[in-house]
Symmetry: C2
Subunit: 432 residues, 2 copies
């Protein structure tokens, strides 16, 4: 016993999911899967490892660089552990462009890795639901994504007092910023980076950075007015922009289908990823303690073109992480107290041969009744303790006398009622 | 468009799961989850990344060395992408030894990575179901694992003509080999490595290696006789071995509960991993084209001791990979022809404003009827083509005249029947 002991802790920023944690995760992924499948989205999945080049192309410097776990494999390929799912799904769509029937409605529950310092709502390993529509160039796909995001949160019991979808548009952003700052696309991109981080930096740093990019005080003031503008006020600044029209159309439709209460125009929504081209949105918890965006997404019209020359397949999608979702549900008291189901423990006595318990267990299994035999030989009281601690709802007692009589005793651990039941009537007992 | 295009292919040895593939995977993991939950196993999960040291300790040289993807993180920790799940679950059990209620019945569906050359039944990334019982030192846990493995395959419709559980015991192996070869534990371990690979090497190499380990021709002959021995014949060679008694007890119980047809004693079953201490088993497809073990497992009594001094928590478990399972199900024709469910496409006409389709889609969603709106603006015929190709079972037609009449037409794509249904009766139509 002199060998050094190994640590029992999971790797920093990753989680062990014990059965209680897993039950919770399965519950919320089950709710999400049900919403998406009922909305005719289809599930896909892809590998954890991808070529690093996949992210270098369009994910933006921060994500593709420092934040991505990467290494060289034996064949000297520079591999990445996926930090996000969109490049994978774009690759998959590109690979089968000719066979797939567009529009596609796809979702996935991938896990992701990012090597950053863990903090509230951000871990190194997290799970996401990723939802995408491919092959629809018009607002319906944007709407579809926003509607499904709202459906997801409502399926957990959330209402419009608890969260808001903040919406902007990259085309509008570029048009309005190039007008205000009198700059080109590259200038807009640089300004967008400053706006993206403005809530994390002091106001004076924000201003200095914009001044450095060639903006003057009055232009900065004009930008300021946009942060609190309504979609009508904002789009009035460049009415001819395609982005303005897209925004107006989207908000009009959201209002017609009764979802205005869930949505707000927000000029400050940038999305850090470089691939977005149109609508962008983030969902915020209205509770102040969860001030980070819960999840977000947008339209990316050119991703498939990274793989296939001149391929024009547009995508709109979003990802929602399990960590922020759990924080949200906890904050608003939306997690049910118990997720346990009926579960029967077959207790054991030393004077009954084990095959009789196995036969009983088979009988329950074949009837679809969840059960197990107590797998140790402790006293009856300890077996009951075990049943209670492990959330069994019932115990079955079959000693020598019951076996001889062809009966069992069934004890309901919630009501503490005990019934004597014929072996052949156990199924009926549980059906009742 | 001069930038180099990225490859659309997934990384060698990994798979993209398109919706059709994913539906199949979800189907078989659903069947498995149902069997295990009905058998009162509880799901857990752990991180993809673990310290490499976790595998170096007990997984055996081949797996912990060459076959494991590994790299140094920014903090210079030597990390591994998990090549198997057992060390993770042992770590998790060790971390909460004091709080957990033993015996534990746990399962998981992890994905794993191994950097080896892809071949039939073996890929670089694969999914597994891992099933373990912790904290039961006696045969009941071994039996529980074997029974659940048989239940899993039977749940897919497999019977005893299609697969066999080959069973041996490490304690028995050590006792019988040390008797035959007159050697110590280390000698047994070296001989076990030769036996483990004997089906992959020529007979003469097998003999040469055993001779090199100090065995003589008559000892090798004695070993030979074991490969075809029954459990009674084999255990008669060392009747006092605890391993012999364990084997006899296990086979006796398998016979009493009617599972003899599914099981066979097989001295040649070694399991490559160094941590096994008692019962070991592998499940073989009886079809000759799948001659590799489909899955296997065994008892490992000392793994938790790697983390906690003098901790004695025994484990028994097995893992079954998705690739070999799929091969098995395919070979025996056990995959249903269709896994599609009812799914309704709402077709679109340009003279009906989109919010009416959105309202209809909401109506269906709220009734739990899977549907989507066709997200493009192609002609009606193209919309029907899309519905057929994407496995929709029904289309709903709502043009201006239907809208005015407060009705829709519903077309059943299987029977080609078309019905006119009042908007308020759509739910009833689908319930009928």
């Amino acid at each position: 016993m002199c060998a050094q002991l190994l640590s029992t802790q999971p790797y920093k920023g990753t989680r062990d999911f014990y059965p209680n944690d897993m039950r919770l995760r399965n519950w919320f992924f089950g709710v999400i899967r049900n919403v998406l499948e009922t909305s005719a989205f289809e599930e896909y999945n892809g590998p954890m490892l991808e070529s690093l080049a996949l992210y270098a192309a369009k994910s933006g410097e921060e994500l593709a660089g420092e934040q991505t776990y990467n290494f060289f494999d034996k064949g000297n390929r520079h591999m990445a552990i996926r930090p996000e799912m969109t490049p994978t799904v774009a690759r998959m769509v590109a690979a089968k462009m000719g066979e797939l029937n567009f529009p596609l409605r796809w979702f996935s529950f991938p896990n992701m890795y990012r090597c950053e310092n863990p903090q509230r709502g951000r871990l190194r390993e997290f799970w996401q639901v990723n939802v995408d529509v491919f092959g629809c160039d018009t607002y319906e796909a944007d709407l579809e994504c926003i509607v499904s995001a709202i459906r997801l949160l409502r399926a957990f019991g959330a209402d419009s007092s608890m969260f808001t979808v903040h919406i902007s548009n990259r085309r509008f952003f570029n048009d309005v910023v190039s007008t205000i700052a009198n700059t080109d696309m590259e200038g807009c991109r640089k300004i967008s980076k400053v706006i993206d981080k403005r809530k994390k930096i002091p106001r004076e740093v924000y201003e200095q950075e914009l001044l450095k990019l060639g903006m003057d005080a009055s232009q900065i003031e004009k930008l300021d007015s946009l942060y609190s503008a309504t979609v009508q006020e904002a789009t009035a600044l460049c009415p001819d922009s395609v982005g303005s029209q897209e925004l107006l159309h989207l908000f009009d439709m959201l209002s017609r289908i009764g979802l205005s209460d869930f949505c707000a125009f927000d000029f400050g929504i940038i999305r850090g990823l470089d691939y977005y081209t149109g609508t962008v949105f983030e969902v915020f918890d209205n509770a102040p303690e969860n001030n980070r965006a819960m999840f977000g997404g947008g339209r990316y019209d050119n991703l498939v073109g990274l793989f296939v020359n001149n391929a024009k397949i547009s995508g709109v999608g979003y990802g929602m992480g399990d960590v922020t979702l759990e924080n949200f549900l906890n904050t608003h008291g939306l997690i049910p107290e118990t997720l346990s189901k009926r579960k029967v423990l077959i207790t054991r006595f030393s004077d009954v041969s084990y095959e009789h318990y196995m036969a009983l267990s088979d009988k329950l299994y074949n009837a679809g009744i969840t059960s197990s035999i107590y797998l140790a030989t402790k006293k009856f009281g300890k077996q009951i303790d075990y049943a209670v601690k492990e959330n069994y709802s019932h115990v079955i007692i079959m000693g020598a006398s019951e076996l001889e009589a062809g009966t069992v005793k069934i004890k309901d651990l919630a009501t503490r009622e005990e019934s004597t039941v014929a072996l052949d009537s156990i199924e009926d007992y549980f059906k009742a």
